[in-house]
């Protein structure tokens, strides 16, 4: 099993930390992982993205241009990464703020109203965990106990009080993800 994922959105949406939590959890579950961020001009305002690979084997290239799953959280990232999903792969996006929806017919497309749901529940801070929950519903790569270990490892100690909220958001995310277009 090798899962190659791109997560992309605005800086500040928790794109990099979502990837980090996923990678950490994978590592706790004894998988090979890599996390490769955009650290350049993007970090200084604008878009941010991270490539996460979770695998049972030694990871070859941490730098990729085709992905099994793309998680997309803003329009710029949609424009940039829609075409980089492998045929038959998955594209997950939050429609909030998206003006041009994906139109490929050879990939599976899902929507998740994570930002709406997060603000409704007063959990805007853990918006990214709703999205991660949605992904885990489709690709249950990580067991919940290892997700918890991943959260413990990747969040600084002063934020450990937030772990239950993170877990709640992950569970809610699993409920609210919806299929928009599926390849037969």
């Amino acid at each position: 099993m090798t899962e190659e994922i791109i997560i992309a959105g605005f800086g500040g949406q928790g794109v990099l930390s979502m990837g980090k939590i996923l990678a950490y959890s994978g590592m706790m579950q004894n998988k090979e992982v890599s996390w490769f961020p955009s650290y350049g001009p993007e970090m200084r305002g604008g878009t941010a993205n991270v490539t996460v690979i979770i695998s049972d084997e030694r990871i070859s290239s941490p730098i990729l241009n085709k992905f099994d799953t793309a998680i997309i959280l803003n329009q710029q990232s949609m424009d940039k990464f829609e075409d980089s999903v492998k045929k038959g792969g998955i594209l997950i996006y939050d429609p909030n703020g998206i003006t041009r929806h994906p139109n490929r017919t050879d990939i599976n497309i899902y929507t998740i109203d994570a930002s709406d749901e997060a603000s409704k529940l007063g959990l805007a801070k853990v918006f990214n965990m709703f999205v991660l929950g949605g992904f885990l519903k489709l690709k249950p790569l990580i067991e919940p106990e290892y997700m918890r270990k991943g959260l413990e490892k990747s969040l600084p100690l002063r934020h450990h009080g937030m772990i239950p909220e993170n877990e709640k958001a992950i569970e809610k995310g699993k409920e609210i993800i919806k299929a928009k277009y599926l390849v037969n």
Partner: protein, 368 residues
């Protein structure tokens, strides 16, 4: 239980030097390697091992602090990225002239000039061919993973002291910034002053009545003596060329075509090898781990086996010159690279290999 962590390459080498018993780090921040200094500062090395971490006023000050520390027989280092390493060349040349051991780290960004902060490999010539003045070489280690960033801290110090030479870890923004699993070793204690006195009789640890004064200088105005100094340096480099070559062969045994790549390009090529095998192309990868000493003999051997080599490097073609020297015209060698901070994709380099060597194309063997 093993201590396994998820770390950035920059953090891994910082943890590596602490655990390798480093005595002092002197550096100045620059993207994409500032995490090295940040990590060392945040880890309170003074309390952990007694290691000094100092943010100098400039790169030039940093390298000369390393010069001083190394002269006293201490395990010292600095790190920077391309423009900062350029500033350090004078100090590195002085250390070459005085045969002082140290660890240097260049997390390369695209140049020339301030260039970009994105990953690049365009400092190969500067590093491998001698960036400062004079006939000298550095041992150059090229990590291709976060684990190697960690491992090469200890290896780098060991080689530096074994040969009394400067060791450069030539990394790049991608290896520095990405996170992977790292397995950590036990802490190696720092040497005490008494141990340094015994182990390194050349160090300036204070004159004792039983020996001559140790003087560390690269200046000798007598040309006869200066030539002898240079001849001895060259003997050392030759010995290193014969004994310290390191490389990794990936699917080379039955390869008909070969990628040659180091650092993050080697990771990209590793994926390209897998993709190539799926397409039925017998392709392998030779990954130089030491860039000096270069795996010349191994490449010459492979030149008898393969039909073509593609040197992949994020530069306009620097390492490819050493690959061509190694195979000496026996087999066509081409270069592919992206510039200015762009990284090639695995299928991109595989397509180039196919176009150069496999699809109907007449090529002229390289002849100079």
């Amino acid at each position: 239980m093993k201590d396994i962590r998820l770390m950035k390459g920059n953090e891994a080498i910082a943890e590596g030097v602490i655990r390798a018993g480093c005595d002092g780090y002197f550096g100045y921040p620059i993207t994409p390697q500032s995490e090295v200094l940040e990590y060392l500062m945040a880890n309170k090395t003074k309390e952990r091992t007694g290691m000094i971490v100092l943010q100098a006023e400039s790169e030039i000050a940093s390298i000369h602090m390393v010069y001083g520390g190394a002269g006293a027989g201490k395990r010292v280092m600095t790190s920077s990225s391309s423009p900062g390493i350029s500033l350090m060349q004078e100090g590195i040349s002085f250390m070459a002239g005085t045969e002082l051991p140290c660890l240097l780290l260049n997390v390369v960004r695209g140049g020339p000039g301030l260039g970009t902060i994105q990953p690049s490999q365009s400092d190969y010539f500067q590093t491998v061919k001698g960036g400062g003045h004079g006939d000298y070489k550095l041992i150059v280690l090229a990590p291709a993973s976060v684990q190697e960033m960690y491992d090469f801290a200890k290896l780098g110090f060991d080689l530096a002291f074994k040969h009394r030479i400067q060791v450069m870890v030539l990394s790049d923004g991608a290896i520095g910034q990405m996170m992977e699993k790292v397995e950590l070793d036990e802490q190696i204690p720092r040497l005490t002053d008494a141990e340094i006195k015994v182990k390194f009789p050349w160090a300036t640890t204070g004159k004792t009545p039983d020996r001559e004064r140790n003087i560390i200088t690269s200046l000798d105005l007598n040309p006869v003596k200066q030539e002898i100094i240079n001849i001895n340096l060259q003997k050392k480099f030759k010995h290193i060329q014969e004994t310290e070559v390191r490389f990794e062969r990936i699917m080379c045994d039955d390869a008909e075509y070969l990628f040659v790549a180091y650092g993050s390009s080697a990771r990209i090529c590793q994926k390209a090898v897998l993709l190539g095998r799926e397409r039925g192309i017998k392709v392998g990868l030779l990954r130089p781990i030491t860039l000096f000493p270069f795996p010349t003999v191994e490449l010459a051997k492979l030149a008898k086996q393969v039909k073509g080599m593609l040197s992949v490097e994020m530069s306009a073609g620097q390492m490819v010159e050493d690959v061509r020297l190694s195979v000496n015209g026996a087999v066509p060698v081409e270069h592919y690279g992206r510039l200015g901070g762009i990284m090639p994709a695995p299928d991109e380099v595989l397509n180039v290999l196919e176009e150069n060597f496999i699809k109907e194309k007449k090529y002229e063997p390289h002849t100079n």
